[in-house]
Chain length 145, copies 2
Amino acid sequence: MNHLKQQVLNKMKQNQLKITKQREVLIDLLIKHRDTYLDITKIDQLMRQTFPSMSYNTVYRNLKQLEEAGLLEQNNQMGHAMVKVICEFDHHHHFICQNCGIVTELKECPMSIYQSQIPGAEILSHQFVLEGLCQNCSNCKSKEN
Amino acid sequence: MNHLKQQVLNKMKQNQLKITKQREVLIDLLIKHRDTYLDITKIDQLMRQTFPSMSYNTVYRNLKQLEEAGLLEQNNQMGHAMVKVICEFDHHHHFICQNCGIVTELKECPMSIYQSQIPGAEILSHQFVLEGLCQNCSNCKSKEN
DNA sequence: CTTTAAATGATAATCATTACGATTTATAAT
DNA sequence: ATTATAAATCGTAATGATTATCATTTAAAG
């Protein structure tokens, strides 16, 4: 079994989350698409290929629980769609292609320059996202014209 | 009249947007709360104090048009609520207090260190948001315990 | 194998958002 | 000031996303 999947299943057990068939398919699906953010409705749709009569709640409930267990990241880029993606286990930032949705991880974190600007405040989290066109899509777009 | 409001009204005219009573109240409201992100449903609710029988579409349509005219910023921090705020006319980043929603502008932009990590990609936009507790709320929280 | 807490399914309710045609209104031209 | 007209609003309903509830099923521990 995939190493990432094993990590996820372990974390689920640590959080008293049972490994159900639905959840396993969900995890597989999230891992399969771990390099892009997925719309929740898209996830629901994909799940239904395996569980055609799945309850609406199931995806929402499980995504919420996985997120509470620290296994998912949320993001609302790319239009207004609400999307999620599996969590990587260390700190990083993303470049997201607006055309194909592929995610590139970035290496440096720009936090250090900011604390001094907001003295007394507790920084609990931060989100840093670059958007644009990846090399591939950038090339395609320029050929179109 | 407020200088910012004048700027907004001018930009609206440049975009062939008519100045209606509803829009003026909306603008006033956005300017009044320009230091926090507002949930759209909250905006709708506030508008209804002045226009109790306003059509549901009105807020959505106008926010969308103002956004297209470059007058609003969007953000989806703070839970899953969709929130908007009036645009400032120069580039900056934000620290948002998770407790009271107040926004502090940050001065430096960390973009320069990234282009080299994604060669060939076109960076079209970026979003950088810090979240946490402002000095005020941080103090209150520690008194609670 | 049994027990039990947790997850799912089925259904309906709620909330957010969009669609659409009739009416009203802001603006520009007369 | 009056009129013409394009745009905005209203009223209403439809759609889509999300949540609630409870009976049934199932994973996991003993």
